[in-house]
Symmetry: C2
Subunit: 421 residues, 2 copies
């Protein structure tokens, strides 16, 4: 297909999704929950087909010699698939965000002005080779009353087609339109380009993936985008910190799951406690096979550190690597984070009241922590229920996004003949 007919096809899907979204506006919570439960059952019943399709994708990816990490993200087994289905049941159990009255009040002229939570409409999700995202995103979007257009990575195409076929089949048995969940089955770049430019039909795009994907979308989209992503996260150990606690938090933030966006990437240490803290922390981290890179001051304290270069301060390793810098003051730490941070998750470890408050106020990030691990930036951990991603922008949603972030609001106004003077 040439890019024009791809764009045409995507546009048609967007129009069909918009029509489905119109029906979803008046879907009741019971209707949406029944659909989610039917989708979960359908995924389990179709597990043979889905796992066979997934096997096809995995074989093709292996034949291309792509990385083991990619294969791991792509591969499904019955346990993973059933976990995704169970996830839909959990979403069904969450409170419905739609219809909540955010505010309501009576104006001096008697008008009653309310602000009510409504679905966004049509949500486009652009993501990479993770078939579980297909299930999660469809479930969350549906629960919030939205139609969804899914554009997954080419490596997962067969898996995604089988998953969406099962979910669509399930929707046919419910009161909701099966067109509420749509997969773009063309994995040419032109289909992403087309999706990004459906303003008027698609209400929001959520790209989930690496820096390249996100910046392509930011650069080219005419549809509003919620930026998710990169976490170059810091922990600053202030001079008043409890050093034993600091050691355990640093190990946790770096090692518990190094490949995710809320993992620690650079450790900042106040010079007055650097000599007490760094040797033992370095030992702990090295025992867990973390490669350590340090500024000259930290190298002077722990000679086994590699030299950190300028580039290290700006790198999200997503790996067992940690950069370490000794700083002279709280303000130097805040300045470093301002310069190199990505506005994701930042922590101070301190027992100083004033410093804790200043760090919370001055650090401009989605999540700012005192005396705990950056790894908690997560919808479940924050009590939002399932999460569709972590926003690192400041509009609409910041930090973990749950069901509420998949809604908009509208003003409704009850009058009895008022006119404006």
């Amino acid at each position: 297909m040439n890019s024009e007919s791809i764009a045409e096809k995507v546009r048609n899907q967007a129009m069909v999704a918009r029509e489905a979204a119109r029906r979803l506006r008046s879907a009741s919570t019971v209707e949406k929950n029944s659909a989610l439960l039917a989708m979960a059952t359908a995924l389990e019943r179709s597990s043979d087909d889905i796992l066979a399709a997934n096997q096809k994708d995995v074989v093709a990816v292996r034949a291309k010699g792509l990385s083991a990490a990619l294969v791991d993200r792509l591969a499904l087994d019955q346990k993973r698939l059933f976990a995704a289905a169970e996830g839909l049941r959990e979403v069904a159990a969450l409170p419905d965000p739609v219809g909540a009255m955010v505010s309501m009040g009576r104006r001096p002229n008697g008008l009653e002005v309310g602000k009510v939570r409504v679905p966004l409409g049509v949500i486009g999700i652009i993501y990479e080779a993770r078939p579980n995202v297909t299930v999660d995103a469809a479930g969350l979007c549906l629960k919030a009353g939205n139609a969804v257009i899914l554009r997954g990575g080419s490596e997962a195409l067969h898996s995604n087609m089988a998953i969406v076929a099962a979910m669509s089949e399930a929707l046919r048995s419910t009161a909701l339109p099966e067109q509420a969940i749509q997969l773009i089955d063309n994995t040419d770049r032109a289909s992403v380009q087309a999706l990004m430019r459906q303003s008027g039909l698609v209400d929001v795009l959520i790209p989930r993936g690496g820096r390249g994907l996100i910046s392509t979308v930011m650069e080219n989209a005419t549809v509003p985008v919620i930026q998710t992503g990169e976490g170059n996260c810091h922990i600053f150990v202030d001079k008043s910190a409890d050093l034993n606690q600091a050691r355990s938090i640093i190990i946790n933030a770096k090692c518990q799951r190094p490949g995710v966006c809320n993992a620690l990437e650079t450790l900042l240490v106040h010079r007055e406690i650097a000599e007490d803290l760094l040797p033992s922390v370095a030992q702990d981290l090295q025992a867990k096979e973390v490669t350590l890179k340090g500024c000259s001051k930290s190298q002077a304290i722990v000679p086994s550190l590699e030299e950190a270069t300028f580039a290290d301060w700006g790198t999200e390793y997503l790996d067992l690597i940690l950069a370490i810098k000794v700083v002279d003051s709280l303000d130097e730490a805040i300045g470093h984070i301002e310069e190199y941070g990505t506005g994701h998750s930042e922590a101070i470890l301190t027992n100083d009241y004033t410093n804790a408050r200043r760090f919370l106020e001055m650090v401009d990030a989605a999540a700012v922590y005192v005396n705990t691990s950056t790894r908690f930036t997560d919808g479940q951990q924050f009590g939002l229920g399932a999460e569709i991603g972590i926003s690192t922008q400041k509009l609409h949603a910041r930090g973990p996004m749950g069901l509420e972030e998949l809604t908009s609001t509208k003003f409704i106004i009850y009058g009895n003949g008022q006119i404006r003077e």
Copy 2:
């Protein structure tokens, strides 16, 4: 200047604004209010300079033969300027949105997770030849703790320079950085282009103006945009409506201020009451010099109507013109609004409970009204205080945007050594 050096200059202003925004993060309400009051006084004290600069702009615009409406939007006199200054004092009197705790709770592991309102950072405002916007936007952005970069229309350049000079002068006498308010004094298109692409430095763009401006920004910006704008607003008169009330609401919505975005543009009338309503409404409207255009059914009832063409349904007249259509049902009215509306302000006039509820639920717009005039879509009227614009998009803010909509949130987390299992 060539476009490269223009872009360079805009980038420098954005960097300076970012630095100012950093200081504003910790500005207290008292500091911000003092600055607003100082700015108001400075505008009054500098009124001779400002009015002289404005006169220069007005003379130039008149010499170019531009429209009287544009001259009216551009021209300042002492009364208008003092009203703008008074507006700053009103903003100082509004509650500070920053620092409000949106939510706070304790998680099972003892973490205290709160969501707190914080400034957005740097806001870019792109607007046309209205010097009062320079004052209003600067005041609202500052109160919400943001630095602002103003890019007004070329016709108002001298006025804007004089106004910003006075406000900056005032800031120098306060605790806040004068760089918090910046004017782009280059009116080449390249400066707008450059401003739209400062992602990483500018947090949000708010374009205020006509369709051309808004769509250029949507098309080209890499910075997140809040779309404001167009209102192709409808009133649907259901068969159970109180017809006397309907007449007064229709006249108000069309005539009270026809040039604004919440004015009525198309009237939809249920066929069962069309013969009772249309002749008298037409007479009222024609007495106020409104040109009426109608579908064939409405022409059959009121022969003096001009013929409405297909294009009329999609036109925001912003003038004393009204399109009229007779519809067979509530659902036909909702369908018409779905097809031609711009998601701004829509009203039903009815005494039918079920129809009122259905209209409120199914019409997808920023403000949906029962039995009152669309003219109320306004920050002051809704009780938000002053307004920076009316969002017609669904992300972040929808409808009138007040101070709260000029903020973001961040999660703050208090721990005592928690790590993630």
